[in-house]
């Protein structure tokens, strides 16, 4: 069944006020930035309040939507005429966008709260909250906009927020560089999205979701559009080949990594694909296949990278890549996949945020040490952090009955049926996940202490642990709730369409069991390497494969040699050409005239007789010319 028609929202109600969701954090950010120093004392509180406020609005809108019949669950709220004759600014409140809104504002608020503690020592905490609010606003615009332009504005808005937050400690050169890199790489993706919009507008004469019609069969144009949008998605969601920025992005404060580079922003690509699914990624189309392939490739790549990282955050970043790979894979499989992809997106939002914040809590206790080889045996020193982190860990490796289990299984099942090869790759990925996550847990919380002298690990304050607990709870139950009896699928159906056949969730499917087995093997191997055995405090050289993984599969090296170096040469060449070539010609011309002037004036010898001669010659020439002309 196709998605239902989008109807113009007329009556008031919360949906009519849904713009408040964006307005609250936006106002917060504005206040904090405009009245900067004066808000230092209470700035963080304002930030949290604004985030919570928009969460409340989101919930209310959600409730109101629940109250409506399926046919009316997609409502476009017209705001103002943006570009006359091209596109109006408006919000689309439908199950999909509201689901995202809830995730963003919910997890977002938790991370706001957490940050109060985490950033308490930072002189610039106020600015941090301003940026967080800015991000929430932009992200909400991204998911709520009822047209591609609005989406694009949010899209780049979150890019900006991420730029600002990665570079929050911009006085560190590494941070500044990472921030710039993130933005630029994202722009590569945006280029795709931009050109995609050109095509959409040119072909369909509109950029509003409401006016685009679902397609059944794919044609070259839609394929092109699909691929271009996919490029955009790759940029935002750190999918191959535009993955390289995500790992550097870990330069930002940990809450940022949790919110932006795990829970929400990086999933925007998935949102884009799902949102455009009906228009450009029909089930079994080439575009959809491309999405699935990219997803599968990335989920493996990310997982492999994750195995080799000693930096806990980078390890988690790798895993984020890989998990989003799963979502992409799901998003490439049509309506069934959509449900699981979004499901995994939501649960991942919870357990990955949980893991990151846990990591942050650890760092907080270990004076910002990130190298896991300097950890060890921390479980007794920070019990709450350990407990929550462990739950998150179980969830992500897909331990039965935890959130991750249901959503990931769903994706794998669907994949194995739709695209067997990709499906089995996903299974392998799950195994690797089991390995690197277990490795992380063992290196951090088990084994004996490998701390620096001055390390006094301690449990983090309540303001940080409470969000952890909440998130871990979500990590336990959310998945089951969403997937069993297809709750999420039915909820999303109006927005993304429903599959012909409703899938049943089998706890004992062959793939499921195979996956679990592999995960177990991975975990066991991890225990064998890092739990039982001694973890060297310094990184061993490691095999070729290890270095391969450590160097992020040479992603940066490739960019370096294929893009940056030639780019630098091109730039130098262009500058040289401009100064010597073009400007050279201009100045040369001037010099030429000057020189000829210098030479010509020598003819003015000062000898009267020379002048007389010139007169005589002139006369002769004049006469000759006249006679000549006369006789032509």
């Amino acid at each position: 069944m196709d998605p239902v028609e989008i109807i113009q929202h007329t009556t008031g109600g919360v949906i009519g006020l849904s713009w408040l969701m964006i307005a609250f954090p936006l106002v917060g950010a504005t206040i904090l930035l405009v009245f900067n120093r004066y808000t230092n004392r209470w700035g963080h509180l304002l930030g949290v309040a604004m985030s919570l406020a928009s969460f409340v609005v989101a919930v209310l809108a959600f409730v109101e939507l629940l109250g409506l019949p399926e046919a009316q669950r997609r409502q476009a709220v017209h705001l103002w005429e943006f570009i006359p004759g091209m596109v109006d600014m408006g919000l689309l409140i439908d199950p999909l966008s509201i689901a995202f809104a809830l995730l963003i504002t919910g997890v977002g608020s938790l991370i706001h709260i957490y940050s109060i503690g985490y950033m308490s020592h930072d002189p610039d905490r106020r600015r941090f909250f301003a940026y967080l609010n800015l991000f929430v606003a932009a992200m909400l615009l991204l998911v709520l906009a009822d047209n591609y332009v609005g989406l694009f504005i949010g899209w780049e808005g979150v890019g900006l927020a991420s730029y600002l937050l990665i570079g929050f400690w911009q006085f560190k050169p590494s941070a500044a560089v990472a921030a710039k890199k993130a933005f630029v790489v994202n722009r590569v993706g945006d280029f795709g999205l931009l050109v995609g919009m050109f095509l959409i507008w040119t072909t369909f004469g509109t950029l509003a979701f409401a006016e685009l019609k679902p397609i059944t069969a794919e044609n070259p144009t839609t394929l092109a559009i699909g691929l271009l949008l996919l490029l955009g998605a790759c940029g935002k969601s750190a999918q191959l080949p535009l993955q390289s920025w995500l790992l550097d992005a870990m330069e930002g404060p940990t809450p940022v990594s949790a919110l932006i580079h795990a829970a929400t922003m990086v999933t925007a690509g998935v949102y884009l694909v799902v949102r455009s699914g009906a228009f450009f990624f029909p089930e079994g189309s080439g575009a959809a296949l491309a999405v699935a392939v990219v997803g599968a490739a990335t989920l493996l790549a990310g997982a492999i990278i994750g195995c080799a990282k000693d930096d806990i955050k980078k390890g988690l970043a790798g895993s984020t890549m890989s998990q989003i790979g799963y979502m992409m894979l799901g998003a490439g499989l049509g309506p069934v996949g959509y449900a699981f992809a979004i499901g995994h997106l939501i649960t991942h939002g919870f357990f990955k945020a949980d893991l990151f914040l846990g990591a942050g809590s650890v760092m907080h206790g270990m004076n910002d040490e990130v190298n896991m080889r300097k950890y060890g045996g921390l479980r007794t020193y920070m019990p709450v952090t350990f407990a929550t982190f462990f739950i998150g860990y179980l969830a992500i490796i897909g331990f039965p009955l935890l959130s991750g289990y249901f959503t990931k299984e769903g994706i794998i099942e669907t994949a194995v049926h739709a695209q067997p090869i990709l499906g089995w790759l996903a299974v392998a990925g799950a195994g690797i996940t089991g390995f690197y996550m277990s490795r992380m847990v063992f290196m951090t919380f088990f084994g004996e202490k490998r701390w620096e002298k001055d390390a006094h690990p301690h449990e983090s304050p309540t303001v940080m642990t409470v969000p952890l607990i909440v998130l871990s709870i979500g990590s336990v139950f959310l998945g089951g709730y969403l997937i069993l009896s297809n709750r999420l699928m039915d909820w999303l159906a109006p927005a993304v369409g429903a599959p012909a056949a409703r899938p049943e969730f089998h706890f004992t499917s062959t793939t499921g069991l195979a996956t679990l087995a592999l995960v177990a093997v991975g975990a066991a191997f991890a225990w064998y390497k890092y739990g039982r055995a001694e973890v060297p405090a310094v990184q061993p050289r490691g095999s070729f494969l290890t270095t391969f993984a450590r160097r992020d599969l040479y992603g940066d090296a490739i960019n370096e040699s294929l893009i940056m170096r030639p780019g630098q040469w091109l730039t130098r060449l262009a500058v040289f050409f401009d100064n010597r070539g073009i400007d050279g010609v201009v100045n040369g011309l001037a010099a030429g005239i000057g020189g000829s002037s210098g030479r010509l004036r020598r003819l003015q010898t000062g000898f009267a007789r020379t002048y007389a001669l010139s007169i005589l010659f002139g006369a002769a020439i004049l006469t000759g010319a006249l006679l000549l002309v006369g006789n032509i």
Partner: protein
């Protein structure tokens, strides 16, 4: 049978301006002869000024009365028509203004005869002697200028040419400072001038041989009937051209201009750069349009080359000049080239020719005025040893004398033809006339005329460079420690500068009245 000799009729009223000037000049000579030295100046200055202004008034009266003679006057010697009157007016105004400059202290040698640096020169200077002969000489020159463009036959034209030139040869040699240069200028000007006038005369002879008469009317009639390609005619014509092009300083006959302009006393340079040029162009028009108008298909291509060459040579060589007067000399060469573009712009219809003529007359006025103003300012920038003409001395002048430099810059912009200065409309009018004539004549010629205009604008662009260079020097460079002193300008000089500025600005903003004037003058074309 006794042959009756009828007395020649002279239209005194019409010739009044001319006669007045010459009369005053002769009176001046008498003053020199009889008045005691200490009185001479107080006679000469008023006499000269009044005569010039009176003559101008007389011209105005004629214009207002508006009953122009329909035919040549003075037994066909002179043609007093619209263009002539306009040119007369311009010349008289400019020369009157130049006299104010001449009147200023310290331009002229105390005793020309004494050797520079010799004791008796010292004495003469201490005694405060002055060559008040310059006034009658100037008047004679002016008279010649009036006669030159008004001439209706080659003889009168030759006489006018000489009457104009001879006094100028002398005046060039009378500078107080840098006398060597001055005398050299004088000699060069004299020898070359005489040389060129010999060519002119020989040309006249040839034409006479062809047409059997020296009157323009007769010549054009003869051409209307006889063969156009008679070598006699062509040779004569080209030699006449040599004489005239020499006077306006068109390439390749421009060589004298820089040297003479640089060496001569600045007021005289001003007179030559304004008055002589105006007169010469007027004469050129008479010969090319009236006398040999029917030959234009032959002389157009030749003059095309000359014009293009003149514009380019003037503009290009000026770039590397280091002496302000010399630079202005080259600029005046370039402007002569622009004027030739106008001369080239002949139409088949009287109305069309009127357009070109209007443009030329307008250009003569605005260019002459700006030139006089510029040279007037040059006289004010002085070193102990006289005027500071070397450009390097002008550096940072804008700081020490902002107003003076500002005005000078404005004149330069006018030369460059920047909008909202008179020079712009001058150029515009000329180029329009040129393109228009080409348009009327049709494709090939149209392209040629447009091409000439393009050459013209390129030349203007190059020329702009050296005008701008002076502005850069004056305003953007820091003044030298021992910069030149700015002489306290006499009322005369102030008047000159103010007048020129007012005209340049006024015409630059509201050219219409002057255009109308030039138009009325032009539309009654040249009479034959």
């Amino acid at each position: 049978m006794n042959p009756t000799i009828e007395f020649p009729t002279i239209e005194y009223a019409t010739l009044a301006p001319l006669l007045l000037v010459f009369g005053a000049a002769i009176l001046g000579v008498l003053v020199e002869a009889f008045a005691p030295r200490y009185l001479r100046k107080s006679f000469q200055v008023p006499l000269t000024l009044l005569s010039l202004i009176g003559a101008f008034a007389l011209v105005i009266v004629q214009v207002v009365r508006g009953d122009l003679p329909t035919g040549p006057v003075a037994m066909g010697a002179l043609a007093i028509d619209g263009p002539t009157l306009f040119i007369w007016g311009v010349i008289l105004v400019l020369s009157a203004v130049c006299v104010l400059l001449i009147n200023d202290e310290g331009h002229f040698v105390a005793s020309a005869a004494s050797v520079p640096g010799s004791a008796d020169e010292e004495g003469a200077e201490r005694a405060g002697h002055e060559h008040t002969e310059v006034y009658p000489l100037a008047l004679f020159a002016v008279g010649g200028m009036l006669m030159f463009p008004a001439a209706n036959d080659l003889l009168t034209m030759f006489v006018g040419l000489e009457v104009m030139s001879l006094p100028l040869y002398l005046l060039c040699g009378l500078a107080r400072r840098r006398r060597l240069l001055s005398q050299e200028a004088s000699m060069k000007y004299f020898l070359l001038g005489a040389f060129s006038s010999a060519f002119f005369l020989y040309g006249a002879a040839m034409v006479y041989g062809y047409a059997g008469t020296v009157s323009f009317a007769g010549i054009s009639q003869a051409m209307a009937q006889g063969a156009l390609l008679d070598p006699l005619l062509l040779l004569g014509f080209s030699l006449l051209g040599v004489g005239l092009l020499f006077k306006i300083g068109a390439a390749p006959f421009q060589a004298w201009k820089p040297d003479v302009y640089q060496g001569a006393p600045t007021p005289i340079t001003a007179l030559m750069a304004s008055g002589t040029l105006v007169a010469a162009v007027g004469a050129l028009l008479r010969v090319f349009w009236v006398g040999l108008g029917n030959l234009d298909w032959n002389w157009r291509p030749v003059l095309w080359v000359v014009a293009a060459l003149t514009m380019m040579v003037g503009a290009v060589i000026a770039i590397t000049q280091t002496d302000i007067k010399r630079m202005l000399a080259y600029s005046s060469i370039a402007h002569a080239g622009f004027l030739l573009v106008g001369v080239l712009a002949t139409y088949d219809t009287g109305a069309g020719n009127a357009v070109s003529l209007q443009a030329i007359l307008f250009y003569l006025l605005v260019y002459g005025v700006a030139t006089v103003g510029a040279f007037a300012i040059v006289t004010l920038v002085r070193d102990p040893g006289g005027e500071a003409n070397h450009l390097s001395r002008w550096a940072g002048l804008g700081k020490r004398a902002p107003i003076l430099s500002g005005v000078f810059a404005f004149f330069l912009l006018a030369f460059a033809g920047i909008p909202l200065t008179s020079g712009f409309f001058g150029k515009y009018a000329l180029f329009t006339a040129a393109i228009g004539s080409g348009q009327e004549a049709g494709d090939s010629l149209g392209a040629w005329m447009t091409g000439l205009v393009v050459v013209g604008v390129i030349a203007s662009a190059i020329a702009a460079f050296f005008y701008v260079r002076v502005i850069v020097l004056m305003f953007f460079n820091e003044p030298a420690a021992d910069g030149p002193a700015i002489a306290v300008p006499s009322t005369g000089t102030v008047t000159v500068i103010t007048l020129s500025l007012l005209v340049t600005v006024g015409v630059g903003v509201f050219p219409e009245p002057v255009l109308q004037l030039a138009n009325t003058a032009a539309s009654s074309l040249f009479i034959r």
